[in-house]
């Protein structure tokens, strides 16, 4: 019984899941800035369950280029639901001067594609997979 409990605890420790971002405390893994913006932060989690936090979506995107293995989870905060992390596959992205982002790429995520286009008036609204076409 005791052994089972131990195994359970060990397994729980390795669980791959995102952690909460402590705004105003945590540092961006890529640019070392303190993370404060609840509508632009991002996070990925590796297969070993290690989370990496970012102050801006462009920071995560640029950091991923140096990464050999694709992380298991990639999450972004969105402007329409700030403070909540959304899977990148469910998010829609825009590059618009109307919403400046922390690292100057003006890249913002939305959970709702129509809202993204209506709010920023910016076409195209694109998905994560095609990000490299828009962001250097």
């Amino acid at each position: 019984m005791k052994n089972w409990l131990l195994i359970l605890i060990v397994l729980a420790a390795c669980e791959v899941k995102p952690v909460e971002i402590n705004y105003g405390m945590d540092q961006c893994h890529y640019c070392s800035m303190t993370i404060v913006d609840q509508s632009h932060s991002a996070q990925y989690v590796t297969d070993k369950g290690k989370p990496f936090k970012f102050d801006a979506i462009e920071c995560m995107f640029r950091d991923l280029r140096n990464l050999e293995i694709e992380p298991v989870m990639m999450l972004v905060s969105t402007v329409d639901e700030p403070g909540k992390l959304t899977e990148v596959s469910d998010a829609y992205f825009v590059i618009s001067e109307k919403i400046p982002s922390p690292m100057g790429a003006n890249l913002t995520a939305f959970t709702d594609s129509t809202e993204a286009a209506v709010y920023t008036g910016q076409i195209p609204v694109f998905k994560w997979q095609t990000m490299s076409n828009y962001l250097k």
Partner: protein, 410 residues
């Protein structure tokens, strides 16, 4: 005498050409926008004491707005308060309160767009989201204002003085607290930040991004999330500032990230977790700085080349210098190190044996931060000593071969 008369006539002409309009509860004009509406360019609008609910007031002509006995402009949390869209506006002596909060709009108490030659001085801003936000405006002066945010930790804090795409700005004598960044410069060139106090801000006291040829002098940064961040910028001069009490695991007095050709002179760094955190920054001159009682005085990560550290005082820091690579291309010379244990037999004022500022233990701590609990243990003293005698992990040319015996004065 004739000169005096000349000045007098000039004054009289200006008094007659440029009118003055007063605003108060029993004046002809009872609201500020109505007075601005009927003012001619270059008139002065004098606002008497009182409380004026105002939001989204747009100024589209050159005008001088002056508050007498601190009239209050209350934004009632509705959005912007004053928007300046004209050159040559002077805005002085107001109390401004309650700016609206939004995730998608950066509401500010005073906002300008494409407006040059502005003067914004002696205003007290309270409960702001963004305080003073100037965009694409050049030759602006922001002086002697007090900006207070809402002292909240999270999303509802903006920046105190936020400049975006500006040139020749002068930010002087302001007091900034309870904000995200006290002062934020993004794409701002040829500007000065002088004698400001920036404290109790969530993120940075002062923040530069993509800004070149700027100077900041005589400022005081304390109790911020982190003191100052200078990122992706060139030719920044940092002189005679004071960085203190920036404590926390990810906190530092000064962060340098991807910057080139900077000068850091005569600054005081006291009681910070990391005094200066340097990442990928080259050709930086550190001279006559005092590093007193910091966790780390200088923490170098990433490639940093051709940096010079001369005539600085390193006093009572847990770690003087920490490195994460074996390569050293930086010069340390003529500094005073309080933990230097050498001698000066020839009495020329310089220590006879070199000082090695990088301790082996700092590598261990870089790898595994938790080991910091062993800091004062005997075991750590032994490994630091053995590394000092025969350097294996630390760059063997990383040393000050002319350490000063006395604290350096300038």
């Amino acid at each position: 005498m004739s000169r005096f008369l000349g000045i007098l006539t000039c004054l009289m002409i200006s008094a007659s050409v440029f009118g003055q309009i007063e605003v108060c509860s029993d004046c002809q004009f009872k609201t500020v926008p109505s007075a601005i509406e009927s003012a001619s360019p270059h008139d002065t609008v004098l606002v008497h004491k009182g409380i004026y609910p105002i939001h989204n007031m747009v100024i589209t002509k050159p005008i001088t707005l002056r508050g007498l006995n601190r009239p209050v402009l209350d934004g009632e949390d509705k959005g912007y308060i004053v928007k300046i869209l004209s050159d040559s506006v002077s805005f002085t002596g107001f109390d401004i309160r309650r700016v609206g909060i939004s995730h998608t709009e950066d509401y500010a108490a005073i906002y300008s767009f494409r407006a040059d030659y502005l003067e914004i001085s002696d205003n007290h801003l309270e409960d702001v989201f963004f305080g003073i936000r100037l965009e694409k405006s050049s030759n602006v002066v922001v002086k002697d204002n007090i900006v207070k945010g809402r002292f909240s930790r999270e999303f509802d804090s903006g920046n105190g003085i936020h400049l975006w795409h500006c040139k020749n700005a002068r930010v002087e004598g302001n007091d900034l607290s309870g904000l995200r960044d006290g002062i934020y410069f993004e794409f701002v060139d040829d500007s000065y930040v002088i004698a400001n106090r920036s404290h109790h801000n969530t993120r940075y006291g002062l923040h530069y991004m993509f800004s070149n040829d700027d100077d900041y002098l005589d400022n005081y940064f304390y109790n911020n999330g982190a003191g100052v961040a200078v990122m992706f910028s060139k030719n920044i001069k940092m002189i005679n500032n004071r960085f203190s009490h920036n404590w926390g695991t990810s906190s530092y007095g000064l962060l340098l990230k991807e910057i080139y050709d900077a000068e850091i002179k005569m600054n005081l760094f006291e009681k910070n977790t990391v005094a200066i955190s340097v990442d990928g920054s080259s050709r930086i001159y550190y001279r006559n700085n005092d590093f007193i009682q910091n966790g780390w005085a200088i923490r170098v990560t990433g490639g940093c080349y051709v940096n010079q550290f001369t005539s600085n005082n390193f006093i009572s820091n847990s770690f003087d210098v920490s490195y994460n690579s074996k390569l050293n291309d930086n010069l340390f010379q003529g500094n005073f190190w309080s933990s230097y244990s050498g001698y000066d037999i020839d009495r020329d004022g310089w220590g006879d044996i070199p000082y090695r500022p990088v301790k082996l233990f700092s590598y261990v701590v870089n790898r595994t931060p938790e080991t910091i609990v062993l800091l004062r243990s005997f075991f750590i003293d032994i490994i630091n000593f053995s590394e000092r005698v025969t350097p294996v992990f630390t760059p063997d040319n990383l040393m000050d071969d002319q350490p000063s015996m006395k604290k350096i004065k300038w």
